[in-house]
């Protein structure tokens, strides 16, 4: 059965209310995402890009419109979606192993099969020796990998990365983005990345969606085709087309230092 896109965002709008007034964060967003695709969403700060991700994750209800995953309307969090918040958010009081099991615990799905899956991922991604360590004993990159395994352990089809690397320093960030992209490709997942880093958006994605200033609307969608050998985000930054995409998106973002 291969009918329609994996994620269908249909005329989604979102308005926030506060005693000071109402703010329109998103306006009439429509977007389809195919299975296996990697989509980056960029936009000026406050354009509602994280709100869009929260709506897809079922954490925020849209004011109008709806999101469909596999044709099912999203009404709350489901295990089809794995959400990666800003910075790794590993729980300091849990060992890496117990952090990895967190999602399964919440879903009441800790059993020998899921545990074996999680253990296999820890082995594959070089964290098995650290399973009994606490997060404070790990480097930034290892923590990010552990966080990704925690998300993958519930076996979601779509990964939502919400500025997931923004807490890391620049060098670690490049390496981690590379690793995460490779893991996502290897595990055959669909991913949506929200970022304010244009280079990160281009280097990781098949498509880059540019949002306007608040209220966020889709300004343009770029299909990214880069001629590079290694096909890793770091390698792709070397591609000749990279600068061109960067400049076009940069202009569209229309950033002024205020």
């Amino acid at each position: 059965m291969r009918a329609g896109p994996l994620v269908r965002i249909e005329n989604v709008s979102k308005t926030y209310h506060s005693p000071e007034g109402e703010i329109s964060a998103l306006q009439d967003i429509s977007l389809n995402i195919a299975e296996g695709e990697f989509v980056s969403i960029v936009g000026p700060s406050g354009c509602g890009k994280s709100t869009l991700l929260n709506i897809i994750a079922g954490l925020t209800e849209p004011s109008a419109g709806a999101v469909y995953i596999k044709g099912q309307k999203v009404t709350g969090p489901t295990s089809l979606v794995g959400y990666m918040p800003q910075s790794d958010q590993l729980f300091e009081w849990r060992t890496i192993w117990r952090n990895v099991l967190l999602g399964l615990e919440v879903l009441n799905k800790v059993n020998s099969e899921t545990k074996m899956q999680a253990e296999k991922m820890l082995r594959t991604y070089g964290l098995y020796e650290f399973r009994k360590a606490y997060p404070s004993q790990l480097s930034g990159g290892m923590r990010q990998r552990a966080a990704l395994i925690r998300t993958l352990a519930i076996n979601p089809e779509i990964l939502l990365l919400d500025e997931a690397f923004s807490a890391l320093d620049y060098q670690t960030r490049l390496v981690v983005a590379d690793e995460v992209k490779q893991i996502i490709t290897r595990e055959n997942k669909t991913a949506i990345l929200v970022t304010h880093d244009i280079s990160e958006a281009i280097s990781m994605a098949d498509r880059v969606v540019v949002l306007t200033k608040r209220p966020g609307k889709i300004k343009n969608i770029h299909k990214i085709i880069l001629t590079c050998e290694s096909h890793t985000p770091i390698g792709c930054r070397e591609a000749v087309e990279f600068r061109d995409y960067f400049n076009r998106i940069w202009k569209e973002l229309d950033v002024h230092a205020e």
């Binding site: 994750a57 079922g58 954490l59 709350g76 969090p77 489901t78 295990s79 979606v81 794995g82 959400y83 918040p85 800003q86 910075s87 958010q89 729980f91 300091e92 009081w93 849990r94 967190l102 999602g103 615990e105 919440v106 879903l107 606490y134 404070s136 519930i154």
Partner: protein
């Protein structure tokens, strides 16, 4: 160990000077105590001060031995320690439970906020006579006193701790579809263990205050009772002895909490 290369001379000198400094601090601390006791004794023997109203170290030792022979010493210590432990354990537990209720219902938290602020500024000792009328002239009133002294401050500090748990951690759990109960259990409570232990540390001290004041008001046994009784019959030896035992007991109990903290927070 940041690096495993052989230690340089300079670093050795640094480590040595650190060690010497630490020894000097400890020596000064011991000297201060011994000097104070010696001076106190000397001043009393030479009649610079009147040991009848200031007591003196040898008098305190004599009193201690007498109390030990009578066998009443341990009963008095036991009574006060029991009241204090009951007070701070109950105060911390009840305070945490009430904080959970407030976290659960934002509405209730907002409604009760002004009352908690007023109760927090009230000197809880003023409730002593009321507690005695309600609970009788006995240990129950004293434990209640020790409990009340720490209860409100526990509620407020633990509740504030709950409110400071990282929103992103809660969001992560919600993205897995966690229920409110699961959020409490998996993130709010474990993340607040340091706050709860900090409250526990404060409560140990506060509960001693509650227990001793309670004993001042009603008791027939305990260190607070010994202090009041000693004061009334002008046996300052007895008063000073009780105060010193109190010092040691309070310090020991605090250390126990510190050991407990290290056990629980080994991930830090």
């Amino acid at each position: 160990m940041p690096n495993k290369s052989p230690i340089s001379q300079e670093h050795l000198a640094y480590l040595r000077s650190k060690k010497v400094y630490k020894k000097r601090v400890i020596a000064a601390q011991i000297l201060l105590l011994v000097g104070f006791i010696a001076f106190w004794e000397l001043a009393a023997v030479l009649r610079w001060i009147d040991p009848f109203i200031t007591s003196q170290p040898t008098g305190i030792v004599r009193t201690l031995i007498a109390l030990h022979r009578e066998g009443s010493l341990y009963r008095h210590i036991g009574v006060t320690v029991l009241e204090t432990v009951a007070g701070f354990t109950l105060g911390t537990l009840m305070g945490t439970v009430i904080a959970i209720v407030l976290w659960w219902s934002d509405f209730l938290a907002e409604v009760l906020d002004p009352y908690l602020v007023v109760l927090n500024s009230l000197p809880k000792v003023a409730l002593g006579p009321i507690l005695i009328v309600w609970l009788g002239q006995g240990m129950r009133a004293i434990v209640a006193m020790a409990l009340f002294v720490s209860l409100i401050v526990t509620i407020l500090s633990v509740y504030t701790g709950f409110a400071q748990v990282d929103e992103n951690k809660i969001k992560l759990l919600k993205s897995f579809g966690a229920t409110k109960w699961q959020i409490l259990q998996k993130v709010i409570l474990p993340a607040s263990v340091p706050t709860i232990i900090a409250a526990l540390k404060i409560n140990v001290g506060l509960s001693w205050v509650g227990a001793i004041v309670g004993e001042f008001l009603v008791s027939r046994a305990g260190l607070g009772y010994l202090i009041v009784y000693g004061g009334q019959v002008f046996r300052l030896d007895l008063v000073m002895t009780s105060v010193i035992i109190l010092c040691i007991a309070a310090a020991l109990m605090y250390q126990l909490v510190v050991i407990f903290e290290k056990k629980v927070l080994k991930w830090q």
